[in-house]
């Protein structure tokens, strides 16, 4: 926990206390959130790249906003990469590598056929018309991707507990505590830190 964490959470708590954050959001499923976007109940939000696809026709009313700037002038957002893992105990390392190269070479088709709405890893895919014709996609790549960081951005080494850290009870509890405004920023962050530390000790 540091001063910037406290400052950021105090900002979120201020949004909560002013009723800017939907008080029911703490229990929303992804479908509930999509419904709120579709019904025009959400004015601004941090959601997935594929919001328009999830929500359906919004007649161009759903736009990617500029990244907001913190009081110290810094900008950031969070990104969740989906890794492709190749195991060392595969029956044939060569065949696995060959398949991976083939698979990565075919990825473009997923965006060309509009079967994939996540952000592509390859720059070449961001340049295909099916992707680049959507101004929201262009803005995400241009303005948001450069400032995006993962949960592990501060880490200097691999940690096998990352799944327990980013999907565990501590994070869940922390985010719900903040959104319901049930604790002040420092208390919530201290509890969160203790929860993360107990996972790391395992």
């Amino acid at each position: 926990m540091n001063d910037r964490n406290v400052e950021a959470m105090e900002f979120v708590l201020e949004l909560v206390s002013n009723g800017i954050v939907d008080p029911a959001a703490v229990s929303y499923t992804t479908d509930n959130m999509s419904a709120q976007w579709k019904d025009g109940k959400a004015g601004y939000g941090l959601f997935q790249v594929n919001v328009p696809q999830r929500v359906g026709d919004t007649s161009g009313d759903l736009l990617v906003a500029d990244p907001i700037k913190g009081p110290h002038g810094d900008k950031a957002t969070i990104v969740f990469p989906n890794n492709i893992m190749m195991y060392t105990n595969t029956p044939s390392q060569d065949a696995s590598e060959e398949f991976l190269v083939y698979y990565l070479g075919q990825l473009k088709q997923l965006w060309q056929k509009k079967l994939m709405s996540a952000l592509p890893v390859f720059k070449s895919i961001t340049e295909i018309p099916e992707f680049a014709n959507d101004p929201n996609n262009v803005k995400i790549v241009k303005d948001w991707q450069p400032i995006a960081k993962t949960f592990a951005a501060q880490g200097s080494k691999l940690n096998a507990n990352l799944a327990a850290l980013d999907g565990g009870q501590a994070l869940n509890q922390f985010s719900q505590t903040i959104i319901t405004g049930k604790a002040d920023a420092k208390t919530a962050l201290q509890t969160f830190q203790s929860g993360l530390e107990s996972v790391l000790k395992k």
Binding site: D22, P23, A24, A25, V26, S27, Y28, T29, D31, N32, A35, Q36, D39, K41, N161, A163, A164, G167, G168, Q169, A170, N172, Q173, Q176, T177, I179, T180, K182, V199, K202
Partner: protein, 320 residues
């Protein structure tokens, strides 16, 4: 007629005893199995017993192994004795979940029993389209929980869902049924009662069907009121089925994962986290198998104790 006469008449009615006296009670036959018959039964039962031990024994032993180690989903880890149990028992999250589980079970068992009993008694009377109502009333139990929880979510999740809108239009504010910790707990319990009452209704209907109607006629002749007939004939005569349904529903409630998890995910801020949800989260979200399985073990032991107590009640009610 004095109340003493009414009471004795009701007691006689329950026992099926005529005013003239109890008549001849047939003596109890004591059956003694020969040694050979015992051996035969033993060999006939053995395959089933072996199968049961294999089916239940292996996971139980493996679970005991995990509960006494500090492993995760991939590795068993080091032996830590009862440390996982002490960690769990000193954790506030465990006691908060235990408290919620207790309330959830009490409301789930007795709420569904009361609704089921009321409807079973109502359906016993001659009402038009009674069988159609019976089928319709079974739907909450029959419909897959994924479907019904989704339907309930649509009804209450957002401020613009149907039920909050209804409250708002009635001038009762906009209750956040799944976002407010207290209301979320109440909503989950009401949902559980709604899902479970058909089971209770069926159990009680079956028990009521076996009650001889002449007992009520005898009680009426002795001057018993409807309330006296209900409390002193109906309830005692369906006591056995009631205790069985309580045991089953207690087990259903304590072990209920989907009802809670699909509606609230255990939130907000763990307000609806029951022990089974906590065990799941500990094992599959924190990847701490030891404490998670220890929670499951503690739940099992508690359930066994409760079941034994209620089972004794069944035997007691049978003797009476």
């Amino acid at each position: 007629m004095s109340s003493t006469t009414t009471q004795s008449g009701l007691a006689r009615a329950r026992r099926g005893v005529a005013p003239g006296g109890p008549g001849t009670v047939p003596g109890k036959r004591k059956s003694k199995l020969s040694a050979q018959a015992t051996r035969t039964f033993f060999w006939l039962l053995l395959p089933s017993v072996v199968l049961l031990v294999l089916i239940h024994g292996y996971p139980l032993i493996y679970a005991a192994l995990q509960a006494t180690h500090d492993g995760n989903l991939l590795q068993t880890g080091n032996f830590v004795g009862v440390q996982n149990f002490s960690t769990v028992l000193t954790s506030p999250a465990f006691w908060k979940a235990a408290q919620f589980t207790l309330w959830f079970t009490i409301v789930g068992v007795f709420g569904s029993w009361l609704v089921g009993l009321g409807l079973a008694l109502l359906l016993r009377t001659k009402i038009p389209a009674g069988n159609t109502f019976k089928v319709l009333l079974l739907l909450p139990w029959v419909v897959p929980i994924v479907v019904s929880s989704t339907a309930w979510n649509w009804l209450v999740a957002t401020p613009d869902s149907l039920i909050p809108s209804l409250f708002r239009n009635l001038g009762l504010g906009t209750p956040l049924f799944l976002a407010d910790p207290t209301l979320a707990s109440v909503t989950v319990m009401v949902f559980k009662v709604w899902v479970s009452f058909p089971f209770m209704m069926m159990m009680i209907s079956a028990a009521l069907a076996s009650v001889d109607t002449t007992v009520y006629e005898a009680a009426s002749m002795d001057g018993a009121s409807r309330w006296q007939q209900f409390t002193q004939i109906t309830l005692p005569l369906i006591a056995r089925s009631t205790y069985i349904s309580w045991i089953l529903m207690t087990i259903f409630c304590v072990n209920d994962f989907p009802t809670i998890y699909l509606l609230t995910g255990g939130g907000p801020v763990s307000a609806t986290t029951s022990l089974v949800v906590l065990a799941y989260r500990t094992v599959f979200q924190d990847f701490a198998t030891g404490p998670g399985v220890a929670i499951a073990f503690l739940m099992t032991m508690t359930l066994v104790v409760i079941s034994v107590i209620l089972y004794r009640q069944i035997r007691k009610s049978s003797v009476e």
